[in-house]
């Protein structure tokens, strides 16, 4: 149990198949998870490797709620530092992104750091006219910005503040790593970004991402157009620890349509008479060549890589309080895309994001849960589709990858 938790907490005997609602609202759990999950032995997405091409390029982001600066250093390497001046704790970088020619200077007292976070100079270090200034015992090298370990996987840069996190490739593992690699085939090119403020705990969105069961039930657009149904061939890959997952769907309807229609006939989401007037935006090509038209992948705790037809995006789930989350989207193509492919990606971006035909509901459903659980600290969600384990399954009619998330989260939290 995390230190300092006032109310005793006993996880239900059903294990990962039950999740007490308290974990989505308790401020003490939120505070403990900041230290144990986000500042703990986990890797978190920071930036695309080629998003900061020139030495001096920088971007600010977050590891959990901790503000972070990511730079391209003079040495050509990516560096990441906590965005907090070693002097008095002020934000060193205020802009979302930019370029600097002379390192990073804190606006408060003009302490200056290089692009790797080393303290280079302190204003009036020797005082004025022999008076004031820093004592002789003050050493610049002892007051750099706190640095993160960074590592690159398939053009995605991750960072961690923990010495205990294993190397990134080992953390992600071969299976999930291969599924990242199949999407990140070339040099990414950013098509644009957007962000959503969700009125729910960050874990409710991560559960939603890992929940392969809901997709064709909540998102009626998918079902109606047979873009994805649970009866379409596909499955879910899950890391052994449960931490990461990838759900995948094959494009062609390999199952039997009549059986599928019958299975769905009782469900609200099937509108047989609903047809698009201009379905060109769904024209997609099998750019990877393996027949998988949809892959949703997560790396614990808060990174998502999406391939929905030709719409590719990375999503970062940032906690902003026990009941608020920012969901950041970066939509990408690749440098060798022709104009038709870029247009296709822009058209298919209509499927996702805040106004997405198949993701609009995801922005709201976490908030619906958050609004439903006050007073239900001792009650639990039931996560039993596909059993109580979190092994990979050749179907998406399962909640195995949601259980996987809790299997990875609970030991970190001591719950």
């Amino acid at each position: 149990m995390p230190d300092g938790l006032q109310m005793p907490f006993k996880w239900p005997k059903e294990g990962n198949a039950r999740v007490p609602y308290r974990v989505f609202s308790d401020p003490e759990i939120y505070k403990a998870e900041r230290d144990r999950v986000f500042l703990g032995p986990t890797w978190q997405y920071l930036v695309l490797d080629n998003e900061l091409p020139e030495p001096g390029d920088y971007k600010t982001t977050f590891v959990g709620e901790t503000p972070v600066i990511v730079t391209r250093g003079e040495d050509g390497q990516i560096h990441a530092m906590v965005n907090r001046c070693a002097h008095r704790g002020n934000l060193v970088c205020l802009k979302q992104r930019g370029h600097t020619k002379d390192g990073l200077t804190c606006v408060y007292h003009a302490w200056r750091y290089d692009l790797a976070g080393n303290l280079m100079s302190v204003a009036f270090r020797r005082g004025v006219g022999g008076k004031g200034g820093m004592p002789d015992s003050f050493k610049l090298e002892e007051h750099g910005l706190r640095t993160l370990r960074t590592d690159n996987f398939a053009g995605l840069v991750f960072g961690t503040l923990s010495e205990a996190a294993p190397p990134l490739a080992e953390y992600i593992g071969n299976d999930i790593g291969g599924r990242i690699g199949r999407v990140m085939r070339g040099k990414p090119k950013i098509l644009g970004t957007t962000s959503q403020i969700l009125h729910n705990n960050w874990k409710l969105y991560v559960e939603n991402v890992k929940d392969t069961y809901h997709a064709s039930l909540l998102h009626t657009f998918f079902t109606t157009f047979r873009i994805s149904r649970l009866t379409t061939a596909g499955g879910v890959a899950i890391a052994e620890s449960g931490a990461h997952h990838a759900s995948y769907t094959y494009g062609e309807q390999r199952g039997d349509n009549a059986t599928s229609d019958q299975l769905y006939s009782e469900i609200h989401s099937l509108h047989e008479d609903y047809r698009l007037k201009d379905p060109r935006f769904l024209d997609s090509v099998d750019e990877i060549g393996d027949g998988i038209t949809l892959q949703i992948l997560s790396v614990f705790p808060n990174f998502v890589l999406q391939q929905i037809h030709n719409s590719i995006a990375v999503r970062l789930v940032l906690p902003k309080g026990p009941d608020e989350t920012e969901l950041q989207w970066t939509y990408i193509g690749f440098e060798d895309d022709d104009a038709a492919m870029t247009e296709r990606r822009l058209q298919q971006a209509n499927l996702v994001g805040p106004a997405g035909y198949v993701s609009m509901e995801d922005g709201a459903v976490g908030g619906f849960i958050q609004r439903a659980i006050p007073g239900a600290d001792e009650e639990c969600s039931v996560i039993e589709m596909g059993g109580r384990e979190h092994a990979p399954q050749p179907t998406r009619a399962t909640e195995a990858s949601v259980r996987g998330f809790w299997n990875a989260w609970r030991p970190l939290m001591g719950l």
Binding site: L191, G192, L346, Q347, A349, N350, G353, Y357, E361
Partner: protein, 159 residues
Amino acid sequence: MDLAEISRRIEIEALYADYAACLDNDALERWPDFFTEVCHYRVTSAENYEAGLPLGIIYATSQDMLRDRVSALREANIYEPQRYRHLISGIAIGGKNGGALDVTANFLVVRTMQDGSMSLFAAGRYVDRIQRSESGWKFAQKIAVLDSRQIDTLLAIPL
């Protein structure tokens, strides 16, 4: 300003008033009629727009795609009942572009949810191109450029 220009300005102001009323009064079925058959409608952020990034939060290149957006909102998508109130001001009529006119305008949108909670949902400007047709002015292009990169929860009703 000569009389022709004054009368054109009044027509264009009426176009924006009518456009706002259509969205705010839940007459979404009429919304695609404000556009030319081939058109460009996009909702984006100032951040994307100023960086020259082409992404749209909504992105459509035909009137039929706008009709599909409306039928999806009516038939497929699930979202809580809500209404918008558009305040459109500062309509600036720019230069002629072929047979079309470039127009920019500011917008503020207050969103009211079914429980009565209200928020300033969106602020930004339209970067538009309008064309005169037999049935009046139509948008050949409408780009809603949001000042903020953040959308609260979701964007269902168009801007």
